[in-house]
Amino acid sequence: MKILKLMLLLVVLGIAAVATVMYSGIVNVAADEPHSDLVYWLLEETRETSIKKAAEDIKVPDLADPELLLSGGVDYNFMCVSCHLQPGQKESDMSVGLYPAPPNLTLAAESHEGHEHGDDAQSARKNFWVIKHGIKASGMPAWGKTHDDKRIWAMVAFLQRLPELTADQYQILTALDPNDNQEMAH
């Protein structure tokens, strides 16, 4: 009975502590104030593990079709470039202002610090899942709500080649002819 009372007391104290933190306003939610190293590590590990697990059964289609690069390139240029940059660009308002900072996708996966990306297939699975479902409280939207899997895989195909592209190649692949009535409803 004593143990039960003690546990009940601990639960009440825990709820009171959480409520105090929530309603005292001591947690700084400003995006220009970084997390402590510990909090950042906790959140990043949780995120990476969650994505890895959620994406592990996704089957990766053949991504070598040049048409995928064209479709994915146009979509990337309209939907992603403001945060994830393009060849020759070092930063943007969004890449500087968002927290956590969106990854610079013009850099090869190996050159990213921190978490591992795995091989091409693992990286493709992860990219597909993230583009489709987004990431809570990070600024990354769930594009799957408005784009079908085919278009998302096209973006994944483009992302695989993006780090190798020159600025000129990027311009050609992502350009949308003003006379071409492709979908521009983003």
């Binding site: 690069l69 308002d93 000129d168 003003p178």
Partner: protein
């Protein structure tokens, strides 16, 4: 008088922060936020350095060929006949010297001076 002072104070309280905020909003070039729709600059494509088995090279070729086809389709002279004949083409605006004949080369050479004359006689 007191009412006037109060009103002026209120207006100032609203206007000063509004102007300050609007000025900071244009602190950097607004052009950065403009999404331009532009054609592929295919003149920068160097075919000699391209591996024609690489999907990137193939994609670029496809894009540029499609763009070239679209451009040439827009210049389809076979469809111009009817428009020229029914008077929809406004020749009065063509006399301002902005028409660059140097770039028209071969495409216009196929027509003789007589044919040009005939078309214009129909106006």
């Amino acid at each position: 008088m007191k009412t006037l002072t109060k009103t002026v104070t209120k207006i100032a309280l609203v206007l000063i922060p509004a102007i300050t905020l609007s000025m900071t909003a244009t602190a950097h070039d607004p052009k950065l936020h403009v999404k331009k729709v532009e054609k592929a600059d295919c003149s920068k494509m160097d075919n000699s350095k391209m591996d024609m088995k690489d999907p990137v090279a193939l994609a670029m070729m496809k894009k540029c060929m499609k763009q070239a086809e679209t451009s040439s389709a827009k210049m389809d002279h076979s469809k111009m006949g009817d428009k020229m004949m029914d008077g929809k083409m406004d020749h009065s605006k063509m006399m301002d010297g902005k028409m660059d004949h140097s770039k028209m080369g071969g495409k216009m050479d196929s027509k003789t001076d007589d044919s040009k004359k005939d078309e214009h006689d129909n106006h």
